[in-house]
Subunit: 253 residues, 2 copies
DNA sequence: TCCCCATAAATGTCAGACAATTAAATCGTG
DNA sequence: CACGATTTAATTGTCTGACATTTATGGGGA
């Protein structure tokens, strides 16, 4: 039996803990293990895979970091297949998105266009399924945004909440999840932008029109207004950028 | 000094490895550590945090599982802040999406509507930025899909490739990343659907019209056709479902 | 019957050691 | 002096064994 040994090409010769984690991950994603199933204890796993307990623990920690399992101490404790909740999935997505944008030098325009493209995609569904609660939430955020002397951070937060309410109007949690990740991941880039008062007024005006259009279930108009909002935001970013460039060049000379 | 102990509410009293991982994660996401920065060695970290090396290692494995760091052995080795590549980010997103859909009993209709909503969102950008390469790729997939006797898996794979080319036409990697995750996460649900020949013909016909519309840069038409495709897919899923229900009830009696 | 406590099972943590890998320093030789 | 082989040191990967901590369970006593 010559092929009993590990195939040197396929398994990629990674760490033992990575291999074990992959094996368990596959079992979960393929459905062999379903939510709330209990994995064997660390001692049993170390025996099964022929490795020490620390190695097994490293594998389990890898899975825990991906929210694939959760662990409980004590008798009748152990590692259990975790039913990923939406808030957790949101956190995972936000982390990945933030990392992807910030460490890959994705420019603001690309991220911004992607975000508005996704949001425009769910506008028709929002127009169809929106509830009075969503409209009320959006109007509340508009009131907040209109207050003078609001910090840039607070304005951004309110902006995010407004768009979140708009997306939630689609009543599609999967859609909300994607959009939340897209928006959250942009937050670091977004915080580099400063909104002048005139720009804020323009944005708030568009928000009001969007809310009205949503109330009227006018999907085409929402689409158009979101496009306008995207344009405004991009212009804003350019202005901030040129301002910084100017300042930097001035300081350098 | 009574408050020297861990604050019982704020730090949430998690595992030491989770706390350390969180601290390093924050340092990376906040920008204190940038790509390719080298972390202190495991021995130094264990000394810094006052824990043992296995505990530090568990923390590092958590971060590695999120592709936040990568490790290298040997002298001048260690843990380095990892620049997340798009393929890796794609894998992360796909894992989370698959988990979210399969372990949370998200019904096919919800996932399908979300996917097409996102795809319709990038249709205008694709119409604007599409290249001849994208059109060629889509036409190649259409040819593949039209072959009779194709297995359901192969048909699905070609379908995915077709839509991927459509999305890539937007020339926005962030957008492509989101869509790829949405589609990949649906794969397990998608594989439960069987496409009859008549349905396949209908889908391929729509694909042809979509490609033509993309060539003509007619965003509105693409939007309309994607809507139709969504409707067809949903009808398909319902048919498969009722078929299964029928079979199951028959077997049960 | 009800409460308290011992017990057992499991994860969490530690200490020390050795193996494997890799880059750099060292040495030897032409 | 130059260049290649060898040694060395630093670092991660893995193992062993032990102890601490948490928690469900069951038994004993009031």
């Amino acid at each position: 039996m010559p092929d009993n040994s590990k195939s040197q090409q396929k398994t990629a010769e990674k760490d033992l803990s990575a291999q074990i984690a992959q094996a368990i991950r596959d079992a979960i994603l393929s459905g062999d293990l379903v939510a709330d199933d209990r994995l064997p204890s660390e001692a049993e796993l170390s025996d099964t895979y022929g490795v020490s307990r620390p190695t097994v623990r490293e594998a389990l920690k890898r899975l825990a970091a991906q929210s694939l399992i959760r662990t409980k101490r004590g008798a009748s404790g152990g590692a259990f297949v975790h039913r990923l909740s939406y808030p957790e999935a949101y956190g995972q997505l936000a982390t990945t998105a933030t990392l992807l944008l910030s460490l890959n030098e994705v420019d603001f325009a690309t991220a911004c266009r992607a975000r508005f493209a996704l949001e425009r995609g769910c506008a028709p569904l929002s127009a169809q399924n929106r509830d009075v609660d969503h409209l009320a939430a959006m109007r509340a955020e508009i009131t907040r945004q209109s207050q003078p002397g609001l910090s840039d951070e607070a304005f951004c937060a309110s902006d995010v909440a407004f768009h979140r309410a708009l997306v939630d109007g689609a009543s599609n949690p999967v859609l909300s999840w994607h959009l939340a990740g897209a928006v959250e991941g942009m937050q670091p880039l977004m915080n580099m932008i400063t909104f002048r008062n005139r720009d804020r007024a323009e944005i708030v005006a568009l928000h009001i029109r969007i809310t009205d259009a949503l109330e009227a279930r006018d999907a085409a108009l929402i689409d158009q207004l979101l496009n306008a909002l995207c344009t405004v935001t991009l212009r804003q970013a350019e202005a901030t950028e040129s301002l910084h460039a100017q300042k930097n060049s001035g300081a350098r000379i």
